[in-house]
Symmetry: C2
Subunit: 304 residues, 2 copies
């Protein structure tokens, strides 16, 4: 398992007792990311015991309060906890000034390096890349400038073929990293064991696509093609399709059509409007179009 | 009962699963006030079912995050709920710009009149007054400009003396307001019933003093003299008196000395540091100096 998503909050608009605004914790290829940060996210992180201090990169989709108002508190908390590591925040233009002013007035002088990467491009771009993961924006269509994010694993090391290796006592644990890195192994008798014998292909590279908030936008299917997991907002059911269009949100059915067109493996629904007391209705509607659907719920862990 | 305080949060620094930052809901003489608004306050308001829509005045002591980061979310929620009534926010200079910028970047265009009353005086001043209540600042000594607030009932109407009134069937319910307002009543036979016969003295005027955060500051005793309830921060116990002095906080014992000197009826402790796993230690320490002490705890209702 190299992709694990923990839902911290998945409801739209105002926080309520059991309805937390959007936030997700993503572990992918040994990287740990926070996606969106509605009010109360830091409490949810503690509640579900996600790695508070492992996060070095935060991706904010847009600056509506239910995706963003918890960020200042989280950053201030990192300051109080004497964080020293760099923290990178990706989000729409304006985020730096909004957070900076609050840090100023609250005299929360964080001592760690805090980097803002302000986004304004209208086309998908790669905004983060290291040796493990690449992150691309998914430009969405909402009432305010909004990006989803596509998280893509990069090449992984080959896996040791322990069944083969165990036949050669000469190969020691300290040799494993070289073998995983692709090297052959030369035995004392001069025999060369080829790397493709000692290793197996790495597991398939994983992709996670996060899309919230957005009106139905079929063109994103190309960007998120074949994702293992797609989180797509479904604020409304089809009974409110006109309202979805007006407020630039999606219905569960529209989210499912995107999932089908993009040929993703699993669709996760969320960002439910409070007008629906039973979120199973979202599942039922989406399943009329696409089979593999999961409902986001706070605390739920989803692996791929 | 004309004074009722509901504790929404009473812990210092960072929000945790069961430790909510400062916020209080005060009902006094039929007025409803919110005092401080740490992150997650709107959720606590819903959890403890305090009158969300009754609040027209919010008093912020200072702009540290644990007293203030929930304010933007609450204001945005009032906007989403289509509030129309005026909302008044009292707090240190800078609060208007910090909230205004966040409303701008989140495009949370509230349609109700939002008034900021920015404070910068170093001496106690009356910042709010209507026919029921007066509110004065209590200048405190913290690392950042900070005021406590003193809420004082103004003259109340006299109470009907129902035992006397019930002897006169001529007096109808619709006459009660006139009588409570101080008028005599003339019977049909010409007899005049004096108001002091028909009514009893109103109950004593109540006072609530809120003091958080502050270093030990004996001079506030004059301002809060004879308060019915005093909430005074006690971030530390006496074992950390030096740290309290350095960070401009108080110990439980110091809070109790203030309560004793000011001759208040009841002291409420709060703003506990997370270093103390058992908050009963605060109660024990304060009780060595002052008898009538209550521990603030989220959801606790305190009447006077």
């Amino acid at each position: 398992m190299s992709l694990k998503l923990t839902i911290l909050g998945c409801h739209s608009a105002t926080p309520r007792v059991n309805a937390h605004p959007t936030a997700q914790y993503l572990e992918i290829n040994n990287r740990h990311f926070l996606i969106d940060c509605g009010e109360g996210t830091q409490r949810q992180m503690r509640r579900y015991k996600v790695g508070f201090s492992k996060i070095n990169h935060i991706f904010i989709s847009h600056l509506h309060g239910d995706h963003f108002f918890g960020l200042i508190g989280l950053i201030a908390t990192y300051g109080i906890l004497n964080r020293e590591k760099d923290l990178h925040v990706f989000g729409p233009k304006g985020i730096k000034k909004a957070i900076g002013l609050q840090l100023d007035v609250s005299q929360s002088h964080v001592r760690f390096p805090l980097h803002f990467h302000e986004l304004s491009a209208k086309k998908s771009e790669c905004v983060f890349e290291d040796e493990k993961v690449r992150v691309h924006t998914i430009p969405l269509n909402h009432r305010i400038y909004t990006n989803g994010y596509l998280f893509v694993e990069k090449e992984k090391p080959r896996k040791l073929n322990i069944e083969v290796i165990s036949n050669y006592p000469e190969i020691e644990t300290c040799d494993y990293n070289n073998i995983k890195a692709g090297r052959d192994f030369k035995l004392k008798d001069g025999t060369v064991l080829k790397n493709e014998v000692l290793t197996k292909s790495p597991s398939k590279l994983k992709k996670y696509a996060f899309c919230s908030d957005t009106a139905y936008k079929p063109s994103i299917s190309e960007i998120i093609k074949d994702a293992d997991l797609l989180y797509h907002e479904s604020t409304f059911l089809s009974d409110k399709e006109a309202l979805a269009k007006k407020t630039k949100h999606s219905t569960a059915k529209q989210a499912a059509i995107i999932a089908r067109e993009a040929k993703v493996k699993t669709l996760i629904l969320g960002h439910y409007s409070s007008r629906y007391p039973d979120i199973n209705l979202f599942l039922e509607e989406a399943k009329t179009v696409f089979d593999n659907v999961i409902l986001a719920e706070a605390g739920k862990e989803i692996t791929a």
